[in-house]
Symmetry: C2
Subunit: 328 residues, 2 copies
């Protein structure tokens, strides 16, 4: 077992410090997008390869302990080291626990473009540890609500209806923990139909992400908050195009705000149309030279993929106040 | 279509120079192990990513035109760029045409250790062009005979028996071309049983390679010649351990020498036991701390995997004169 772990975890928990000592082969990393820089990868591999030297590579397992960036990096390493060794995730953030640790995506960044390099390499196991997850600051639980909202709107199954009808008295942490397994199962029902994203089906998981990623890049917002804002954008866009009835729109908005505590927001300074277009075009979800695949909501629990001209998304972003109107 | 091609091909053929101009997106590379250096990978990816910028990545195909190193590099790139784009191989050397282009292995090197990084990523198509292959120098055809011998000894099917009984009047090139499809089919019958080498079955394709790789590293011999010598080593070892009858040993030796023109050889200067052990131990085929998986021949067309102590292989190498006897 070769443990790749976020070294910040050492600072926040005595228990973790004791637990990690049980492993002979340990590689602490600094979490964040810098860890995923392709320029740094060869250096990491050399150190990891030296560390793994006494291990039998045919039976070797990489154990990734950390949030999304640690999982992306360790997963990519496991997928290419000696043409692939076993992988286990212990996600330590809500975002990783509810989303990135599942479904087999690994990733590195190329200069400023996120996730340009990667593999589909599902973990053999994902271990969810309640005490680790619930010990996170409240803000990180709130940040994961965007992803919970996304998968709930896509799935709309009985667990979502239960959640919709529930009284909101739980803490964000308890609400996440209680719905974690259902949310993961819902994601995996989509992933299993299109494990390597070759059929397009899996793209529905990008609900809220197409413009969410633009917000994340442009405003430096957290991934979770950006996705939440991307969901509101997608709902407004779906209704405006007549794809989503007013009733279903209201229902979805109520679910996100009253059940999950999310609220539409705007940046202090709107974007220029040029900046918005350029960030959107760099995204790998482009379906053609001037089009992107956008995920619309048709009703609560039903989404639809459509190829949309980038120009149309830009004008919708203007309508919604994300892009500044031209000064006279 | 993004073409990654060996730039040497420009020098050897007018036809190739004309043909390659038909492609809009071209990336010439310098073939050889340096191309596979992980330290250089990020730099290549940046240039390739820029080149591919106008392409629709969902429909993008990497076309690899070259020998083994070009195929390994381009295959690895295709397998991780945007989590995998389509891949087509046009192998331009006999070794690549008969072996490395098939079966989905891609690879990069970590410092001096070959193929430490890689993926299993089968090409969508492998295109074999007779005029390209037969225009190679005679020495390269001879060099591929080791791999042809290997797969023939493993398979032993009707095509091998036909080859065994044939009169040797053809040129090496014609012999290779005539048996190419059968040799590839024989390899793929093994690969299909164990596509990602998780069950061990696929390891039988390492016949002749375990010590062949040691010879390649230690003496700087070509891969093909090293494998041929590794085959002779495996035959001698198999007979010495009583796993291969004298009759079957003679039959296999006759096949390799009379049909394929291969002959046992020795280096001018034998290896030290220490050097032999250290190179063998660095190989990723290690099955345990002090063991490697060795492929024995049981009879013509039947092999057997066994975990063998490294010490036993070293003493066999001594017996066969590959390792120098200790000076008094």
């Amino acid at each position: 077992m070769l443990v790749i772990y976020d070294h910040h975890l050492l600072e926040i928990s005595d228990e973790f410090r004791k637990w990690i000592q049980k492993f002979q082969f340990r590689y602490p990393v600094q979490s964040g997008e810098g860890l995923k820089d392709l320029d740094q990868f060869a250096g990491h591999v050399k150190k990891l390869s030296q560390l793994a030297e006494p291990m039998n590579s045919r039976k070797m397992t990489v154990l990734a302990v950390g949030g999304g960036s640690v999982g992306d990096f360790a997963g990519f390493f496991a997928s290419v080291f000696k043409r692939g060794v076993s992988l286990i995730h212990i996600p330590t953030t809500w975002l990783a626990a509810i989303d990135s640790a599942h479904g087999g995506k690994t990733a590195l960044n190329l200069d400023s473009v996120k996730n340009q390099i990667g593999t589909f390499y599902p973990a053999k196991q994902v271990v969810l540890v309640r005490s680790v997850l619930t010990s996170q600051p409240q803000a990180l639980a709130q940040d994961a609500m965007g992803e919970l909202g996304k998968i709930a709107l896509i799935d709309g199954g009985s667990w979502v209806k239960r959640l919709e009808k529930s009284q909101r008295s739980q803490s964000d942490s308890d609400l996440l923990w209680d719905n974690l397994k259902n949310a993961i199962d819902a994601k995996m029902r989509v992933v299993i139909k299109d494990p390597v994203e070759s059929k397009g089906v899996r793209q529905i998981l990008n609900l809220g992400h197409t413009v969410g990623h633009v917000f994340e890049t442009a405003f430096g917002w957290s991934h979770g908050f950006s996705v939440a804002q991307g969901l509101f954008f997608a709902l407004e866009f779906s209704e405006h195009k007549g794809l989503l009835s007013e009733k279903e729109f209201d229902r979805a908005m109520r679910f996100l705000s009253e059940r999950l505590g999310l609220a539409p927001d705007r940046p202090q300074q709107a974007l220029s149309a040029k900046a918005f277009t350029s960030i959107l075009s760099a995204d790998k979800k482009r379906s053609g030279r001037d089009d992107v695949t956008f995920i619309f909501l048709r009703k609560f629990g039903k989404v639809e993929r459509r190829s949309v001209p980038i120009a149309e998304i830009v004008s919708e972003a203007k309508r919604q106040g994300w892009i500044q109107s031209r000064a006279r």
